[in-house]
């Protein structure tokens, strides 16, 4: 039996260490360590509630919209605000653009080098190994070309965010009650033509490249599975949501109840008794705690570790989503020649990410055509003496939740549970490993296991700055 530490896991956001035990050609056990603590929730305590909007946006530079969106929903709830339709459309367009940037970046720049031959990319970008490379030289050249092209595509997606959201990273225009900016007609046109270019790339490069990867590495649909899936849903518009909320347990869709979320810290570097509900959580950092091995806490739904992210959204969407989503998802599953239950796997996550990129880009075209530039985009706010709020959304990498308690017009408590908190969580009070730990265990490996572990871990698109705020 050999124990191997992979640290740093590169080509993800932030600081993640993964430790694997390999025995008789398979990973028998894995541990995920989130290696950075900043304490942003503590920093929020005692501040003006609206500061949470700007400070939590800065939790993550890859998906700041995850937090600006969750914070705005959380503050809308606490302040009793309901954004006007125009404000909601603009929020959705800004947030959608963040998905386009994120998924293109993740597929080409973070994940694809795991499959490209060494030397396919220049200098430090070059993949570190030539193990298990299955593309022909011609295919590898084409994919490497798309890697470079995708740099410009994701930059354009960031320009989309900025056109309506002010700037990127760390968008500014989303605020409680709506947005701060009503774009001009010219800016709407500038948005539309950039979106069209990005859509072209998604249709003619991203999806075909993804299907090629899925074909060559079809066995990865059988690796890195989790099975328990959770989605909070997102992109609301007039009572409907583009992605519905739901929990898939044992293949069955169960309604989602946010009251069932608890965070534990049995193996996390925090003191305090767990598991606790997010609104009342008290868990000061305990960096020397015996038995702790991660700064990530262990969120659980009815005591179960759940995978969140594109696979969860697709699993819920296939059962309860819009007809457009179901049709698109079924088409792509058919083209990849896999059943729906293959989504929660190392290759299934990539497939789910690709299908929703296309789906969101199409939804954005529709939202754009519904914009009314003469309508108000925000409602006025007043800070209550006391209040509570909950903001649930979907970050590109999965379910994100913010909870606030206001006392004396300042923040008494702020809690964030981010997607990678779910996915990369350590063992909990009951000893159950987190989803990535589960996904790694049982994986057959050809060499030391770094290759397979890297591919599986990256399929979750981990973001450690989000996981531990």
């Amino acid at each position: 039996m050999s124990r191997l530490v992979i640290d740093p896991i590169t080509r993800i956001e932030g600081h993640l260490k993964v430790e694997i035990q390999v025995e008789d050609g398979a990973i028998t056990e894995a541990r995920c360590t989130g290696a950075l603590y900043r304490g942003l929730e503590e920093i929020l305590r005692g501040r003006h509630p609206l500061d949470a909007q700007r400070i939590t946006t800065r939790i993550c530079g890859v998906c700041p919209l995850a937090h600006s969106t969750a914070a705005s929903l959380c503050l809308d709830d606490a302040l009793g605000l309901s954004p006007p339709r125009g404000g909601q459309l603009l929020r959705n367009l800004i947030y959608g653009a963040n998905y386009l940037h994120n998924h293109v970046l993740h597929f080409y720049h973070l994940a694809l080098p795991d499959y490209l031959p060494a030397g396919a990319l220049p200098g430090a970008l070059s993949p570190g190994t030539d193990e298990d490379r299955r593309f022909s030289q011609q295919e590898a050249n084409r994919l490497a070309g798309h890697y470079l092209e995708a740099l410009a595509v994701r930059r354009k997606a960031q320009e989309l965010v900025a056109l309506f959201g002010g700037k990127m990273p760390h968008d500014m225009a989303i605020v409680p009650g709506g947005v701060t900016y009503r774009p001009t007609l010219g800016e709407v046109a500038a948005f539309r033509f950039r979106l069209k270019e990005i859509m072209g790339f998604i249709e003619t490069s991203y999806i075909p490249d993804l299907l090629l990867l899925a074909e060559r590495y079809h066995d990865y649909f059988g690796l890195g599975q989790v099975g328990k899936l959770l989605a909070y849903g997102c992109f609301p518009l007039e009572g409907e949501r583009l992605f519905p909320a739901g929990v898939v347990l044992g293949g069955e869709l169960v309604p989602f109840d946010p009251g069932e979320i608890r965070e534990g810290f049995a193996h996390s570097w925090y003191s305090g008794d767990g598991p606790q509900p997010p609104w009342a959580e008290e868990a000061p950092p305990a960096p020397d705690k015996a038995g702790g091995y991660s700064w990530i806490k262990a969120p659980r739904y009815r005591g179960e570790p759940c995978e969140v992210g594109p696979a969860a959204r697709a699993a819920v969407g296939l059962r309860a989503g819009t007809p457009e989503f179901r049709e698109l998802a079924q088409d792509i599953l058919r083209e990849a020649d896999v059943p729906p239950d293959a989504l929660s796997s190392a290759m299934g996550r990539h497939l789910a990410r690709g299908m929703e990129t296309l789906f969101i880009a199409r939804a954005m075209e529709s939202w754009l055509s519904q914009l009314d530039l003469s309508a108000p985009v925000a409602t006025e706010y007043r800070i209550p003496q006391e209040g509570r709020g909950q903001g649930l959304a979907e970050a590109p990498r999965g379910a994100v939740g913010h909870w606030i308690e206001i006392k004396g017009r300042v923040i008494a408590h702020y809690q964030v549970i981010a997607p990678t908190t779910w996915n990369a969580s350590p063992r909990d009070e009951a000893g159950k490993p987190g989803p990535i730990e589960q996904a790694l265990a049982g994986t057959p490996v050809s060499g030391d296991g770094v290759l397979e572990a890297g591919r599986i871990v990256r399929s979750f698109d981990p973001c450690l700055a989000c996981a531990i705020q």
Binding site: H15, A35, V450
Partner: protein, 287 residues
């Protein structure tokens, strides 16, 4: 290709959010490919040795690269740091088991110079907000505490505009390290951070006639909504963001002062209008 004789660069990430890297990836003319492969000034470009978000190798080979640099390339590389340095406890942040602050100091000790990319690496930034739970500090402060005399150039912003990094980079490539008088009191290149946002703000005419926006999304100067443009050195109005398509104030959001030392605490609560006394004090502090 400038990679063979390019200036070696090590990009080290600490207590940050990768937003500074993403911002640099938004650069156009030069874009990321130009930055990595091409001459940026006549005869000079860069050779990127390490960047955890973009590099191919992972795990031990990546860590060995980082370990080898101070030994094998001492005095030959520029260290770019993204993120603050946690000093409150050595377990608050580690890379390859070693505390981030110790690793950053070790890398800085053998570097030609340190470029602190972003407000976290420059001054501590968001994670250093009160009560600064992880004891986060910027690179300048870390090097003072460790007695390391390597020069530090700050490129603050949350994140910085890619142009400010590019301006700083090409200035150093073309002319070498800046003389002390080329840096302002906050350690920024004067030619990059050359004035207050308020001085070049397109909403300045509104301020001058006291036409203030009463609420988000409305016309007028954003001062009464809490704008820190009068106290913030940054070229946002001149450059605008993301290919020049927009920026905070143009998008109706008050400036929150993200390029200044002591951000966020100096300006928090962000949406509170500063009183005249505070305003005068700030002007006086800045001379």
């Amino acid at each position: 290709m400038a990679t063979e004789k390019g200036q070696k660069v090590v990009w080290f990430q600490a207590a940050g959010c990768t937003g500074c890297s993403i911002s640099l990836m938004n650069s156009s003319y030069p874009d990321l490919v130009n930055l990595l492969l091409d001459e940026l000034v006549p005869g000079k470009g860069i050779t990127l040795l390490f960047h955890a978000t973009l590099m191919g190798p992972t795990g031990r080979p990546a860590l060995e690269l980082l370990d080898r640099v101070p030994r094998e390339a001492a005095g030959q590389y520029v260290l770019v740091v993204e993120g603050a340095l946690p000093t409150g406890h050595e377990n608050f942040g580690r890379v390859g088991e070693v505390p981030m602050a110790a690793r950053a100091a070790e890398l800085a000790r053998k570097a030609i110079a340190v470029v602190a990319m972003g407000s976290c690496a420059s001054y501590g930034g968001i994670p250093a907000g009160a009560p600064n739970p992880a004891g986060c500090i910027g690179m300048g402060e870390l090097l003072r505490q460790e007695g390391i005399g390597v020069p530090v150039i700050n490129v603050p912003g949350c994140p910085p505009h890619p142009r400010w990094f590019v301006e700083t980079l090409v200035t150093v490539l073309a002319r070498g390290l800046p003389a002390p008088e080329e840096l302002d009191d906050a350690g920024r290149l004067r030619n990059v951070y050359s004035g207050l946002i308020h001085e070049h703000c397109p909403r300045r005419p509104d301020f001058d006639v006291a036409r203030f926006a009463p609420y988000f999304g409305e016309q007028g100067c954003l001062y009464e909504l809490g704008c820190r443009g009068p106290f913030t050195n940054a070229a946002c109005p001149e450059h605008a963001w993301n290919g020049g398509v927009n920026w905070c104030i143009r998008a109706g959001h008050p400036c929150i002062g993200c390029t200044e030392p002591d951000f966020p605490d100096r300006f928090s609560p962000f949406f509170r209008k500063l009183s005249l006394e505070e305003e005068l004090m700030t002007y006086r502090r800045q001379g």
